[in-house]
Subunit: 207 residues, 2 copies
């Protein structure tokens, strides 16, 4: 008797303003067991940020010890602070047959896809229907300064050029449609044959 | 403005008795535009079979002319009759942005995946939770002779060993669950980045 249960990894990327956070909230309602991957950082918590919710906050010494012990799936130094993804909680979540969700950029996706975890990975690039729509959203939500918005826009133009590195593309034009699409991709991510060992499937099926 | 529309190919394989036909009927309700690929054959129609519904029925001469003109995506001779898949209706359906659905075996899947159409393909293997459940279903539906059932069972054991050639696996234990899974895979199949040209996406997005 086959019981097909395995953890899987769903990577979401997309420019700030593409509506990823809203789509994620919808996704959480439809997936039974998930673990949203939390980054580890050496930067200080901002007001309202919680350890273990927004980030795992550690000291520079702790982070560098982690690097030496090979505890990070990926890490980078940005403006003097380290940011990284610890392998341990991900492996634990996979063992518990959870869908591990990453909200990372194009470079992060590259690293995870080139890692030993590749067979677990499904990746999705989420974007607005056009650059103009993205600009409109960023300016109208008015949470960022013009400088920050322009930086986000420049990044978005670079990132859309990496679209072919992703398995799937979702255009967030209509929230309900995009949400249905993301849920479909997440459900499929749990059914990939690469998640399972062929020998295991065959022997379970025969008995 | 990106409008992401493309045809795609969904290949379904699985042993006779796995519930494929029922799942297909459910799938048709959820997919907007689809084309179920109909095989061409030189064998005579059986009682109740309709040309263009069950098969395209042609003469041996017509079929061999088709072979010479390269009109078949794949074909085989079985017990003196030809069976094949014409390329033309598939290319037409893809042009019309339809989901082209194939109900073919492991060898057929191999050929389509190795063809120029590969970038359109998502493949799913559907099976029962165990060999015993398959046997029970085949014997209880009582539509085949014991000889035929035993041949189907032998084939199923061979086919389950090719599971790793497929993108996805669905265990049809609970019809509602399996149906939801198939619909999810079909929806995802229409969102694969390989369906689209990167240059097209980028230029549409920028303008």
């Amino acid at each position: 008797m086959i019981s097909l249960e395995s953890g899987a990894i769903l990577i979401l990327s997309g420019p700030s303003g593409c509506g990823k956070s809203t789509l994620l909230k919808e996704l959480y309602k439809s997936v039974n067991k998930y673990y949203f991957s939390i980054s580890t950082t050496t930067r200080l918590p901002r007001v309202g940020e919680q350890n273990g919710v927004d980030y795992f906050f550690v000291t520079k010494e702790q982070f560098e010890e982690g690097i030496q012990k090979g505890e990070f799936l990926e890490y980078a130094e940005v403006h003097g602070n380290y940011y990284g993804t610890s392998l341990k909680p991900i492996l634990l979540a996979l063992e518990e047959n959870k869908l591990v969700i990453f909200d990372i950029d194009v470079q992060g996706q590259d690293i995870v896809k080139k890692s030993e975890l590749n067979r677990y990975v499904t990746s999705v690039f989420i974007t607005t229907p056009s650059l103009e729509v993205l600009k409109n959203r960023l300016y109208s939500r008015a949470t960022d300064s013009n400088d920050v918005i322009e930086k986000r826009v420049r990044n978005a133009v670079i990132e859309i050029n990496s679209i072919d590195k992703y398995d799937y593309i979702i255009i967030n034009d209509d929230l309900q449609k995009a949400s249905l699409e993301l849920v479909s991709v997440a459900r499929s991510a749990m059914l990939k044959t690469s998640l399972f060992s062929k020998d295991h499937i065959v022997s379970k099926w025969l008995n």
